[in-house]
């Protein structure tokens, strides 16, 4: 349940204008890196078509692919679990931890575990999970949520990271050098890897044909954790399935280029079987996905491969920051996924957009994000999340615009008022437009008046 509203939260964010500029420019730079990488692939747009088709097809045959995946994975000595919702996902992971007497758990990035609020659930039960991605560890120390699904600490400056590390790792106060700070994190976390008993990872792609999973990372922490630990638990949304290994070529060519402009992540790890003498578990999670699947307007949002290209291009996200979205997955894709999980808490999100359409253009799997934002607005208003006064004013507008004479009368009356009593609208308190913009001039004649007098 969230009481944060995007508009209010972003207003607060923007109050620090230089910082907003910095946040905006940093993420725009990532968008530009993506553009450069995409332009190096002449068949980029065909790749997008291909990825989109593979995902469309898979979603239309999802149950068959999931059962095929489960069969193959099980044959390979992997234990497959099914979780209907976040609560069950957390319970399953906790029971694996408890049944194996695990004390030390490491976790590499998984937005699904954020969605399910796994860390607080385990903490309540005495299990301290160490997030091992550098950015995730930083926000974990700060007790904040990640603000971006790929660059979790993008909202922080190196001074912030330095202060956090000074507090938790005893690094030199005032040393802001990223190299120094990363080295400190490396040494601190290396010890955690070496002694870890259970490693939790996400899943970028699950291959139905072979029962294998693929995890794409840059830092090496996911693999270090998994190979050092005795038990690997991989968490995945049911929509992460793709039919066969050859399809990975399409997605691996698109993913890192869309996310950060890299040709590929440093590690694309293919987990087929557990290591000798070790356990491997996969937790398949629904948590609202089958519900989204039922809706022809919104099911395409399930194609998402969590690259965050939409975040980086979104002029609203860049100027409001991920925390203004108050959900695990922020940005444009979050705005079309989250209302499915909780209407009330997330009704503001589809309105945090000008519908410019840039997100749809960068999406590697061609989700029609801006069109779904528009459709969510219709759904949410129909279901009553707009409030009574908004509904009334819209009904009034609809009436005026359908009655030409009334429209003309109100138009000229409005302009007359603006000319005679400008102070009515030139009021920062009552007219939000006027806070930072002057009102347009109010001409004596509308175009229709001019036409009638000159041409008709």
């Amino acid at each position: 349940m969230s009481t944060i509203n995007h508009a209010k939260a972003s207003e607060k964010f923007i109050q620090d204008e230089p910082r907003t500029d910095w946040h905006d420019e940093t993420l725009w730079f990532v968008r530009q890196k993506r553009d450069k990488a995409a332009h190096q692939i002449p068949d980029w747009e065909s790749l997008r078509d291909s990825a989109s088709n593979i995902k469309d097809h898979t979603l239309s045959n999802l149950d068959a692919y999931l059962t095929q995946f489960e069969k193959k994975a099980t044959q390979n000595n992997i234990k497959v679990h099914w979780a209907a919702d976040a609560k069950e996902h957390n319970e399953i992971i906790y029971s694996i931890i408890r049944d194996n007497n695990i004390k030390k758990v490491v976790k590499s990035k998984s937005m699904l575990t954020e969605e399910c609020h796994l860390n607080p659930y385990l903490l309540e039960r005495g299990i301290d999970v160490v997030d091992t991605d550098l950015g995730e560890r930083i926000v974990q120390f700060r007790e904040e949520a990640p603000s971006h699904i790929v660059l979790p600490a993008i909202h922080l400056k190196k001074e912030d990271v330095s202060n956090t590390f000074h507090q938790h790792l005893g690094t030199e106060k005032g040393n802001y050098d990223p190299q120094y700070l990363t080295e400190a994190a490396r040494n601190h976390l290396r010890e955690k890897f070496v002694h870890s008993q259970l490693a939790i990872t996400g899943v970028n792609f699950a291959i139905a044909e072979t029962g294998a999973i693929v995890v794409c990372t840059n830092e090496g922490n996911a693999d270090l954790g998994v190979h050092a630990a005795d038990i690997h638990v991989a968490c995945m949304g049911i929509e992460k399935i793709i039919p066969s290994t050859q399809h990975l070529a399409v997605f691996l060519r698109l993913l890192a280029r869309s996310a950060t402009g890299q040709p590929i992540t440093t590690y694309s790890s293919h987990f087929n079987k557990p290591g000798t003498g070790k356990q491997m578990h996969i937790v398949l999670v629904d948590n609202g996905r089958t519900k989204q699947l039922a809706n022809p307007d919104f099911k395409n949002s399930l194609k998402c491969i969590r690259c965050a290209a939409c975040f980086n291009t979104c002029p609203v996200y860049r100027r409001s920051g991920g925390h203004s979205y108050h959900t695990a997955v922020a940005g444009p894709i979050g705005a079309i996924l989250s209302p499915n999980l909780d209407r009330e808490a997330n009704a503001d999100l589809p309105f945090a957009s000008t519908l410019c359409g840039s997100c749809t253009n960068v999406c590697p799997v061609k989700i029609d994000i801006h069109q779904q934002l528009w459709k969510w607005r219709q759904t949410l208003m129909k279901e009553g999340y707009g409030g009574a006064s908004k509904k009334l004013s819209m009904q009034a507008m609809a009436m005026v615009l359908s009655k030409p004479a009334l429209y003309r009368f109100l138009g000229s009356a409005g302009r007359l008022t603006m000319r005679l009593f400008p102070w009515l609208l030139n009021n920062k308190k009552f007219n939000p437009w006027y806070k930072q913009r002057d009102m347009p001039a109010a001409p004596k004649q509308s175009f229709r008046d001019w036409y009638k007098n000159n041409k008709a």
Binding site: S60, R253, Y267
Partner: protein
């Protein structure tokens, strides 16, 4: 009804009619000229090093040079026995590891290494510096060709490695050497 049944039933009820898979032959689009140059350029740009060699000697020279007098070298490429240890503690002090690589992809500088080549899954990640030795005949243009040639499930684990470990999580400043190896050198025979 178990969650498994609930979920599968919901999917079966809720999914759309079957959308066919289009067989787009975009796989063949990449140019196969100058694979070595392309691979070298890309891997260098992402922080890796590349050297073309005729014999194995430069590899050994490099390993000794980088390890210095006291640091531990594990050269599974030449048959060092590292065994099936699953104890991270036993490999924690490996300074440089040398492993054979398989297919290498020119478009993104990635090299495929599977369990049979690395022998121990931890080795390519826990070492401070990583060296891969590949054959120039194993260079392909793009990922489609790579997956056409690799049997990714021949062993229990395999990974495409493209450069040294890295992060830009602190204010987008690129730092080479995050949790995995601080450097990657690929020798091409």
């Amino acid at each position: 009804m178990s969650s498994r049944e609930t979920i599968l039933k919901a999917i079966s009820n809720n999914r759309s009619a079957l959308i066919p898979l289009e067989n787009a032959d975009i796989a063949i689009a990449s140019n196969s000229d100058n694979l070595l140059e392309k691979f070298t350029a890309v891997l260098t740009s992402i922080g890796g090093q590349v050297e073309v060699i005729e014999s194995i000697d430069p590899v050994n020279d490099y390993l000794y040079k980088i390890a210095g007098k006291d640091n531990r070298i594990v050269n599974v490429f030449l048959g060092d026995v590292v065994g099936n240890t699953t104890e991270a503690g036993e490999l924690e002090n490996v300074f440089v590891a040398c492993i054979a690589g398989g297919i290498a992809v020119a478009e993104n500088g990635a090299v495929w290494v599977d369990e049979s080549m690395m022998v121990n899954r931890m080795l390519p990640f826990i070492c401070q510096h990583l060296v891969l030795v590949i054959k120039d005949g194993n260079l392909v243009a793009n990922m489609h060709e790579a997956y056409g040639k690799i049997d990714t499930v021949a062993t229990g684990y395999g990974v495409f490695i493209a450069g040294p470990s890295k992060t830009a999580d602190i204010e987008q400043s690129l730092v080479i050497g995050a949790h995995g190896p601080r450097s990657l050198k690929v020798f091409i025979m």
